[in-house]
């Protein structure tokens, strides 16, 4: 961006204001959203859950470079953990804040369990096996009637209580999800910049050379799997507590695909891309109400077209939050 040399200090300040203004506007909108109608808050909640899920899957696809097509399984584990520990199903009613880490940890365990046999496999085989794993979990949930309630699922799940305050309305969940997204987002960013993140990048570049410099690729990939699964599980717990009803129908292969779409269309390996993708894929169909049933068709076509024409997605990897910050605050 060319800068005209007026009194340079004032010009610079003017430019900075120009860039920061839209950011300020966005922040204000985010803060004021709960004042809008319930419909908009619900929509925002939806977007936020998908941002959370997207950040989790992005760790595996975008950072470690593994195509996990069964991510929905970890989402389901988290959801059912809360459903079974806080409902009349077994008569257990543990508090929300206790189940949250349990759900994440359990999902992480499933991630490791899936990862160990599957990670030594080659990329395309890994994709198919993870796909099958996702389907297996759904079939199991559908059939273990005595435990999971089968196709009917689990109903009347408890309302979560945080610090004595019951979370009932979408507005309360909005703040919870927003806070969680920020916290997880920061954690994920720090992970990306840590030495583990660089190990992931090395594996993405040249797995064999990475081994040659001493990186235990299986373990590093396993870490990606487990952490992404934990995030998925976290999202699942919140989903269950929000909907207060879970059934296998929420955890189909199409759901996994949707999350993959969010990441790939939005921009792989980039949190800004995840946010863009979630907004695009959740909000747009709502806005274009009339053609909603063509949604999946459009998504599928867009994915194929993007991969061929613009594989880096809408927001390329190089334009991450760090670069955005620099662009906003640099002279």
């Amino acid at each position: 961006m060319a800068s005209v040399s007026l009194a340079p200090g004032r010009a610079r300040a003017g430019l900075r204001l120009m860039r920061l203004l839209p950011v300020a506007v966005v922040l204000v909108l985010i803060a004021l959203l709960p004042q809008a109608g319930l419909y908009y808050v619900r929509l925002a909640d939806d977007v936020l859950i998908y941002i959370l899920l997207g950040m989790g899957l992005n760790l595996v696809i975008g950072y470690a470079g593994l195509l996990d097509l069964g991510f929905v399984a970890f989402y389901a584990v988290g959801a059912y953990t809360y459903a079974l520990l806080a409902s009349p199903q077994f008569g257990i009613h543990w508090p929300f804040l206790v189940i949250l880490p349990i759900g994440a940890a359990l999902a992480a365990c499933f991630g490791i369990l899936l990862g160990i046999p599957v990670l030594p496999l080659r990329g395309d085989y890994l994709a198919i096996v993870t796909l099958g794993f996702g389907e297996i979990i759904r079939i199991l949930l559908n059939n273990m009637n005595s435990v999971t309630g089968g196709p009917q699922g689990v109903m009347m799940i408890d309302t979560p209580k945080i610090a004595g305050l019951a979370l009932v309305s979408p507005r309360g969940f909005y703040w919870l999800l927003l806070g969680l997204c920020v916290v997880i987002g920061v954690l994920v960013l720090r992970l990306e910049r840590s030495i583990l993140g660089k190990a992931w990048a090395a594996i993405r570049e040249d797995q064999d050379a990475a081994r040659g410099i001493g990186i235990d690729t299986v373990r590093v990939k396993l870490a990606a799997f487990a952490i992404s699964a934990a995030i998925g599980g976290l999202a699942g717990v919140i989903f269950a507590s929000f909907q207060r009803y879970v059934s296998p129908e929420s955890f189909t292969f199409n759901e996994s695909i949707l999350i993959v779409l969010i990441i790939v269309i939005g921009g792989v390996g980039n949190i800004l891309g995840v946010i863009t993708g979630a907004v695009a894929l959740i909000v747009l169909p709502e806005v274009l109400r009339g053609v909603a049933q063509y949604r999946m068709m459009a998504f599928g076509f867009t994915l194929a077209a993007l991969i061929v024409l613009r594989p880096q997605g809408l927001v390329p990897r190089s334009f991450g939050p760090a670069r955005l910050m620099r662009w906003l605050f640099a002279a």
Binding site: L66, G132, I203
Partner: protein
Amino acid sequence: MTGLLLQQLVNTATIGAIYALIALGYTMVYGVLRLINFVHSELFMLGAYLCYGLLAVALGDVGAAPTLAITVAFFAVFAAVGMIGVTIERVAYKPLRSATRLAPMLSALGLSLFFQSAVQILAGPQPIRFPSIFPTTRVEVAGAVITTTQLGIIALAVLLMLLLAAFVARTRLGVLVRAVSESPRTSALLGIDVDRAISLIFFIGPGLGGLGGILYGSYYGIMYPTMGTIVGLKAFTAAILGGIGSIPGAMLGGFLLGLLEVAGTALLPVLSGGLLGTDYRDIFAFIVLVVVLIFRPTGLLGEQISEETMVYKRDY
């Protein structure tokens, strides 16, 4: 006792034949491009829907279709799905030949979704009754009840596989296909039109898969937009089991998987004391897949991957 055994044998052969036919599509594409054609499962589904659609449009009533109409539909579906396969390769795979291996997979995923949704919108998400293309009579042989549909499927599938084997082994185009499958680069250096061979493979493989869809519909009596996912996964497992890249392997794998599935569903309730019912049939194929991929990824008849080719740069 023999009746039960015979019955299960015929069941196995029928479902195995269908799996084998679809598996051929996976294995042929993999053999030449080292690529899992994700869209193949939707092409299988399209075969069933196209057949039904053609007959419905031409005759009005699909139920009592004359043999001539069915035969014409058969060839038409083969050609149509084959052409779709060729187009998909040109548009969605060819531009990505130099990209990462993840790219064609994602592209295929997108197309898969596209086709599934398109069919769902055009024909509705509910299962549609699919009348068998064979005359439906039941035959009692040694205490087993076999339908002519089953016999028809087995006979037709075996015929198609024999035709394919003869094509690949005897004709000039077949030799072309084999050469390019063995080594695209060497073939190109020898002046062989690699792209033409690839197009041919993408015509035959998906074409056979589409026919598999017709047979599947005939056997199970229904078709639905999402039938590709599970069946595709199983057929892929069959291809891996037999040795991905090997045509006889796909045929062997198909029948073997049919056997494992039938045996598994019969034994599962017995083995687990009634805890696990036959709904877990689908999990069976998946377990086979994981076991094979972990312990013997080249399958039964697949090429032995030498150590030299295993040291690759990009895993995905």
